[in-house]
Symmetry: C2
Subunit: 384 residues, 2 copies
């Protein structure tokens, strides 16, 4: 079978501008048959002539049962990239040194070398684990991200953060390792569980609040279509979210300038909720972030940065999307303690990314612990 | 105690020019008291004001018994960088995922974060393991290399290669992670076992052959002084070796352009000897490389690139330094098989870095397997 040609008609494309590490995000609908050719093209610079090329395709047991990876493996084979498949258990516990060790074993068994590309097909867990292994095998194998959840498509598969958990610290073992290609198939969202769809939408709302009032307004208008999984509506917000995140990442690849911190809106309180409730607790990440965004809007209100109308708009949209808007009843002292460990903090002061308006945020240490405690206690915004 | 000032008089300094990742190599004699201040200066850009700074000093049980790290820890404390000490077992088996996991545990226990610098005090094993952990904890902690063997001082501590072994593949789990400072104390060589000193000298001879005829000549003149551990002689060759390696690394940081391959002279055959004899076998790395350099000179002779006089000069110098010059009696078929796995190879052809003269080498695939077999069999160079 001749490899499918790489044509500009295959989906929509955008570039993550990172100099020598720049790469393409391609948003498609089905179109598996073109995948192998795009992988090959992305690797042309890296792969010299004449060598045997192999792909190490990592997916999880849940997706493997659905066979989601099989057309991709076929397309790789058609492009003369011999695929091998590794299946990890589904779920967060797979982001472990033990699973990384299993993948290393597998790579050594298969004689993987610099002509091997790691292809991560799955949600955040698969991308983070396979990405970490690709970052650290033979001092860095090429990586292709094929995110299959909305959250991974708009967030975790873009930006180069890969990593695994330590039993006592989430994501603490990791690296920055940019993929050579991110391949987003909107059709994978058809079978995504409702709750995961909503959790992905929480991050899309975040992009609207921090960077793009038009995206926010379009979410308000299209909430019902999105929940009904209208393909055009999903494609539009996925593409725009990728553009926005790619722009931030291009400005601050390794979280050095502070610019990348804007992506943390809703996450200061959100991470605290997850830490206190337990990462395998009742809240999904997107749910904790949704409640966190509303809490942080209220904090911005206390600083006089926004009026109650902005908070209400954010809360109303999240509610329309089926997401929680109230911080769950957890011990406020424990939540504050968790926030004190946030890596944005400087000089012993809490720092938050807070909105000035829909589409505009700022990193600030003006919100003190008393303000946070008041917001968590549900007190009214102070009048200036 | 007030921190010691950073003065240009403290030892000799050179810069590894890697743009935003540029760093200083400082070659000193004793002068521990200045160490903390240099670490602090190297980290000024990374560390904001007001935060607690900590160092995670990793060394091995052998050095810990000698107390080699204690003056460095004191100097860090004097510079307000609170030191914690982790001791790993001495020897190559410590370059394992298990030891990395122990160090991760230790870092989590101590609440390490981006204000923690990892300080690797030891030979190649300590540098490679602690370097790998620093590359992968919190997506990269700052790293200071304090190599205490000649081999580490002139080679493994420069260039950013860090990593651990897989039970079936040496150095296969790793990353490129540049230190912020490399601190070389020539006095640590006083107590280095003879065999380790000679092994380090093999790599210095390599720098002479590949890049610097003057260095080579000075080794010929000063062999006796070096073996007698004359401090000035050692300082001079260490400094020059660092300059030479830093220059190559600056041109090809991540082994992409091919330039860095010149450092592989003697290593194609050398690695094959190690692989066939077993990495915990009778040959130290430097010994295998010494025999490998002579074999590769003979290969260059077969291509007509050099005369027998060049090979003789290399062999004579290595012999003066107490290093082996003959490939040990291992199965030539197994040696060839190991060379076929060399990562320099392209298009199914063996590639070697071979001398054109003392001070000049070239990467080539002109030496075929028959030539290699003939050299291993001790046949005369063919006449052109």
């Amino acid at each position: 079978m001749a490899p499918c040609a790489v044509t500009p008609e295959t989906g929509q494309s955008l570039t993550v501008a990172l100099g020598p590490r720049s790469y393409e995000i391609r948003v498609v609908s089905g179109q598996h048959e073109a995948f192998g050719a795009f992988v090959r093209r992305a690797l042309e610079k890296t792969w010299g002539g004449g060598s045997r090329r192999t792909a190490f395709l990592v997916t999880d047991a849940h997706l493997a049962k659905l066979g989601a990876h099989l057309p991709l493996a076929e397309s790789l084979a058609a492009a003369q990239i011999e695929p091998a498949i590794a299946v990890i258990p589904a779920g967060e516990p797979s982001k472990s040194l033990e699973q990384a060790a299993r993948l290393y074993d597998n790579l050594v068994d298969r004689g993987a070398d610099r002509h091997t590309v790691v292809v991560a097909v799955g949600g955040g867990v698969v991308g983070d684990l396979a990405g970490f292994v690709s970052a650290t095998f033979a001092r860095g194998l090429a990586l292709v991200m094929v995110p299959t959840t909305l959250l991974a498509q708009v967030d975790s598969a873009i930006g180069g953060k890969v990593g695994i958990n330590h039993p006592r610290a989430k994501n603490i073992i990791g690296a920055f390792h940019q993929p050579v290609l991110t391949w987003i198939d909107i059709q994978t969202l058809e079978t995504l569980p409702d709750r995961e769809l909503r959790c992905g939408l929480a991050e899309v709302v975040k992009y609207g609040v921090i960077l793009d009032a038009l995206l926010f307004a379009s979410l308000e208008q299209n909430a019902a279509r999105l929940l009904a999984r209208d393909e055009a509506a999903l494609r539009s917000i996925v593409f725009r979210s990728c553009e926005l995140k790619a722009g931030v990442v291009a400005e601050d690849e390794r979280e050095e300038s502070g610019r990348r911190a804007v992506l943390n809106f809703g996450h200061t309180v959100g991470h605290a909720i997850e830490a206190v409730a337990g990462y395998d607790g009742p809240f999904e990440h997107g749910e904790a972030v949704a409640a966190g965004m509303v809490a942080e809007c209220r904090l911005a209100q206390r600083l006089g940065w926004i009026g109650a109308d902005v908070t209400d708009r954010v809360a109303r949209l999240l509610e329309q999307l089926g997401l929680p808007i109230e911080t769950p009843a957890l011990d406020p002292a424990l939540l504050l303690q968790a926030m004190r460990r946030d890596k944005k903090n400087r000089g012993g002061k809490l720092r938050f990314v807070l909105p000035r308006a829909i589409g505009s945020v700022e990193l600030t240490d003006l919100a003190g612990e008393a303000d946070v405690a008041a917001v968590l206690a549900g007190e009214e915004a102070r009048t200036l």
